[in-house]
Every structure is written in structure tokens, then in C-alpha cells.
């Protein structure tokens, strides 16, 4: 289906008229949604054909003191990709889990929880370790975490011994 028609359909059926869609390319568009609306909106999208949840991710907007939670949905029937975004505050970040809509969201949310520290209410794995082991610093994907410093402290770099810069050969007179 054409993007315009899909957008029209969503705007008409979903009720809230004010949603602003923005085209990224012919088969991809994005939309910003209020945090409270997110469950309803995603449920609706799944019902109209966006069956596949491609990805849940987060972006740390440290200057605005916000986290952006991004849901990527694909419909191979409508042949459209939609990016749904919502913003939550950076202090004590919480958002409702969507594992009841898409079971696979359990791991995407766990991922975001581990790397950003965002708590998904309803997900049983909040605070547990998945990828990392014995992690002892702030969530690593946050913007204020510096991986190089951490690496230097924990995993020392090699110091090359016996190295002496020498002139390899007489450079032209």
C-alpha cells in the first residue's frame, strides 16, 4: 500500500488526529507518540498488519535529559516500515513493557534495560544480567559513560618495550 494511504488510514482510524507522521523514504516513516498512548497505539498497529517487531532501542539525549524509546515495526502486507518514538525522562526512566503484544520484546527490552538502565514495567528481567557479567559501572550505552577510560583502567594497554624511533636511512641531502 502507498505510504500516504497507510498514514491516512492510521490517522482516521486511530482517533487522535494530531499525530504527525514524517516520511523518511517511500517505505519508511516515523511518528512521535505520547508515552501513555504507546500500548494502545502499538496494539492498534499490530492489528492493522504491522506484525513484526523489528527492534526496540533507546537513544540517550543527555542534553535534553531524556531517553527516547524507539519501536521499529514492519508490515510485509502493507510493505511499510514505521518508527514509533516516545520520550521519557532520564531520571528514574520507566515505561510499560509490551511483552504482552510481542513476546520477543522481552529480550529487546532486556537489552535496553541493561545498556541504558530503562525499567520496563511488566518485564520480569529488569535488572538482571544478559550480555554483561559482573558489570560495575553505569549502563554502558549512556552518553556519559566513557568506554576508553574504563578500558584503560580495567584492561591495561600494552607498553612496547625496546622501542626506539630511529632514522631508517639517510634522507636525501
Amino acid at each position: 500500500m502507498e505510504q500516504k494511504k497507510v498514514i491516512e488510514k492510521i490517522s482516521n482510524e486511530y482517533g487522535i488526529k494530531k499525530i504527525k507522521f514524517k516520511k523518511i523514504e517511500n517505505q519508511q516513516f516515523k511518528v512521535k507518540i505520547n508515552k501513555k498512548e504507546i500500548i494502545n497505539f502499538l496494539t492498534y498497529l499490530k492489528n492493522i498488519g504491522f506484525w513484526q517487531l523489528s527492534l526496540i532501542t533507546a537513544v540517550d539525549w543527555i542534553d535534553n535529559n531524556q531517553f527516547e524509546i524507539v519501536y521499529n515495526l514492519v508490515s510485509w502486507e502493507l510493505e511499510q516500515h514505521i518508527i514509533v518514538k516516545t520520550f521519557i525522562p532520564r531520571e528514574n526512566p520507566r515505561i510499560t513493557s509490551i511483552i504482552n503484544i510481542w513476546p520477543v520484546a522481552k529480550y529487546y527490552e532486556w537489552d535496553v534495560n541493561e545498556y541504558f538502565g530503562v525499567v520496563f514495567d511488566g518485564n520480569p528481567n529488569n535488572g538482571k544480567e544478559l550480555f554483561l557479567e559482573n558489570w560495575d559501572d553505569k549502563p554502558p550505552m549512556r552518553k556519559d559513560f566513557d568506554p576508553l577510560n574504563y578500558s584503560k583502567e580495567k584492561f591495561p594497554e600494552k607498553e612496547y618495550k625496546n622501542f626506539r624511533m630511529k632514522r631508517k636511512r639517510e634522507v636525501i641531502e
Binding site: S54, L55, V59, V74, H81
Partner: protein, 366 residues
């Protein structure tokens, strides 16, 4: 009987890659499974934020080791979407050549990989040679066997000449001439039939619930292929079929890969005859040290050998990406799929399950 906890991997001959599954078994039957990823975690997404748009090209192929080119392509495509950068037609064809060759290489590797859990060691000895011949092509085109760093935003790094085109043609002819032997020696082999037929079944509902894509989903009858539904590069101009099956088991999934190899050869043939002349790269403004990408975000996706592979890129208009998230193609089956799908499987089939579902640990861990 008493339940026993078993660590399947990371050092296990049936494990492809550095990945571990915690199994709770009752006798030979798996009762509970918990994936334990992260052995290959390198924090790619964080590292990319610290590197220039160009320098990232060196980093990203390492996200998925067996099939690095999809990373370069999808990163470049997402960047091109944000920057609205045109790619020359010839470069698109060249990218298709690389991607399809890579698909053949990976499928060959998974056909060979089935030798591990089943004990049919003919398979790896044959199939990996096939893969190596493709690596020879890669070395000729890009200058390296595994990590090509060939596809960059705006096109590809180097043009190829007639000699290389001919070399590709000869190699795929050579591979195709042996495909019949694969059919007979591997797919008609009674051992493979005994071990794979009916093993590790997957229903359509399961596949949709877990979010499986690629051959896994197609083997349950859903005809979803990014190349057809969200055409990129020049796939809409090429003539090829998407093989699908109705009932999914380990054998079907493996056989689908074999059929896809045939389709890939067909695609490469078309590309070799259709490839237009012209330049291969549109560069961004200035030197690579100063490249900037416009403000915005985009999700680039391609059909990898294991399904939909995507990069979500956010740029704030600077010299470094603001945020990149990798959507590994085997992320759904590699994590949630294991938890939901493995219980009920017999212990000796766990390796087969992981192998034919195409769990690629580096892209899950990132």
C-alpha cells in the same frame, strides 16, 4: 527423573560461535533453556559513537563475521537515506554481486556446518572449499578475504574490470556444476534424512511470535523477503524467486538454503550481463576526516542469509554518529527463540536446532 543443569557451550563442538545455552534437562529432553549471550560482546554501538563516519566502515564488518558485507551495505544505506546521497547505478550492481556472493558463501558454510552435529563430515570438507573459492573472488575485488570494507556510503570503494567479471562467472559456473553432487551426496544422504527430517519443527505461529525472519520464516509458508517487499539496490530489476516451504523442520530449512544458493547464482548471472558502465562512488563533501551527515534518523535493512538485518542510525549533523543500533538477523531466534523453542527438544538435537535456525552469535552479542 531428576533434572540436571547442563551448560551447552561456549566451548562445545556443536556450537557455532562463542555462545552458550543453559539447559535444564530431564533425561534427554530439554525442560528449560536460557540463552547466555555476551561472550562476543564488544560494545560496537558505543565504539561507533567514537569514530568518524568513514572510520566506522572498518569496524562494522566485524558485527557479523561469516557475512560481513551486509553490515557495510546496511550502514551505507542508512547513511545514504539520512544524507539523501545518490548511489551510482554501477555501484548498486556491484553491491548486489558482493551481497549475493556472500549469501552463497554463508549458505555453503551452513550446509557444511550441519556436518558438525550430524557427523557427516563430507559436508564441511566440500562446502567450505566452495566458500573459499568465493573468498578468492572477494580477495580479487576488495583486497581481503573476510573483512572487505568495500561498500561505503555513496557507492563502493573500487571498480572492477572485465577480468574480474570473467573470474566471477567462471567461479559460479564451477560451483553450479557441483551443486548436483551436493543434492545427491548431502540432501539424498540417508543419515541427513534420519537426523534432520522432523527434527526441530517450527510452526508459523511460533515464527511470527518470536519474530523470526529469513529462511526460518519462509520455511513456514510466509513469503517475506526484504529483497521483494522492501526492494533495495537493484533487486526490483532482477528476476528471481523466493523459495518457500509449508512445513518447517531442520531439513526443510537447510534445503531452502540450498535452493537460495541457486537463486543467488541466477541473480549474479543477470547482474554480470546487465551491469552498466559508469562511476562507482559519489563522495561526501571534503576529506573523510571532515565528513558530516545531516541531522536525522533512518533504519536501513537488507535480507541477510538469516533474515532481516538492520541498522538504526541517528545523526545530529556531526562528524560522529550519535547512536547506532544493530538489529542482528538472528536476534529473535537466538534469544527469545531459544527460550521458547528449545524446551521439548532432545539434547542431541539442540545443536541441530541452533544450526538450522541460523543463530549467529557475534551479531546477537554485537
Amino acid at each position: 527423573m531428576k533434572e540436571v543443569k547442563l551448560f551447552h557451550g561456549p566451548n562445545h563442538p556443536g556450537m557455532h560461535g562463542n555462545f552458550s545455552v543453559h539447559l535444564t534437562v530431564d533425561g534427554d529432553t530439554v525442560k528449560k533453556a536460557k540463552p547466555n549471550p555476551g561472550m562476543l560482546h564488544r560494545g560496537f554501538e558505543k565504539l561507533m559513537e567514537r569514530r568518524l563516519w568513514m572510520s566506522n566502515i572498518a569496524l562494522i564488518p566485524r558485527v557479523c563475521v561469516p557475512e560481513p558485507d551486509i553490515n557495510e551495505t546496511v550502514y551505507s544505506m542508512a547513511v545514504e537515506k539520512i544524507e539523501e546521497l545518490e548511489v551510482p547505478e554501477r555501484a548498486k550492481y556491484l553491491r548486489v554481486i558482493i551481497l549475493e556472493l556472500a549469501r552463497i558463501a554463508v549458505h555453503m558454510m551452513s550446509i557444511g556446518g550441519i556436518g558438525g552435529p550430524t557427523g557427516v563430515y563430507t559436508a564441511p570438507n566440500w562446502a567450505l572449499n566452495e566458500r573459499d573459492m568465493i573468498l578468492d573472488i572477494f580477495e580479487k575485488i576488495t583486497g581481503h578475504r573476510i573483512y572487505h570494507m568495500y561498500i561505503v556510503p555513496g557507492g563502493v570503494r573500487q571498480d572492477i574490470n572485465e577480468e574480474i567479471l570473467e573470474f566471477i562467472e567462471n567461479t559460479i559456473n564451477d560451483i553450479e556444476s557441483r551443486l548436483k553432487d551436493y543434492y545427491e551426496i548431502i540432501f539424498e544422504s540417508p543419515i541427513i534424512h534420519k537426523r534432520l527430517k522432523g527434527t526441530a519443527p517450527l510452526t508459523k505461529e511460533q515464527a511470527l511470535d518470536w519474530g523470526v525472519t529469513g529462511p526460518g520464516l519462509r520455511s513456514t509458508g510466509v513469503k517475506y523477503d526484504v529483497r521483494k517487499k522492501f526492494p533495495y539496490l537493484v533487486y526490483d530489476k532482477l528476476d528471481f524467486d523466493i523459495p518457500i516451504a509449508e512445513e518447517s523442520d531442520a531439513y526443510t530449512r537447510l534445503y531452502l538454503k540450498y535452493l537460495e544458493v541457486k537463486q543467488s547464482i541466477k541473480i549474479i548471472r543477470q547482474v554480470l550481463s546487465d551491469i552498466p558502465k559508469g562511476k562507482v562512488r559519489n563522495k561526501l563533501m571534503g576529506t573523510a576526516l571532515k565528513w558530516k551527515i545531516k541531522e536525522g534518523e533512518a533504519y536501513g535493512k537488507v535480507e541477510s542469509s538469516r533474515g532481516e538485518f538492520g541498522y538504526y542510525i541517528v545523526s545530529t549533523g556531526g562528524r560522529y554518529p550519535y547512536r547506532i543500533q544493530v538489529r542482528g538477523a538472528s536476534y529473535p531466534q537466538g534469544l527469545y527463540g531459544i527460550e521458547a523453542g528449545l524446551p521439548g527438544t532432545r539434547l542431541e538435537d539442540v545443536s541441530i536446532w541452533l544450526d538450522t535456525m541460523g543463530v549467529c552469535s557475534p551479531e546477537v552479542d554485537r
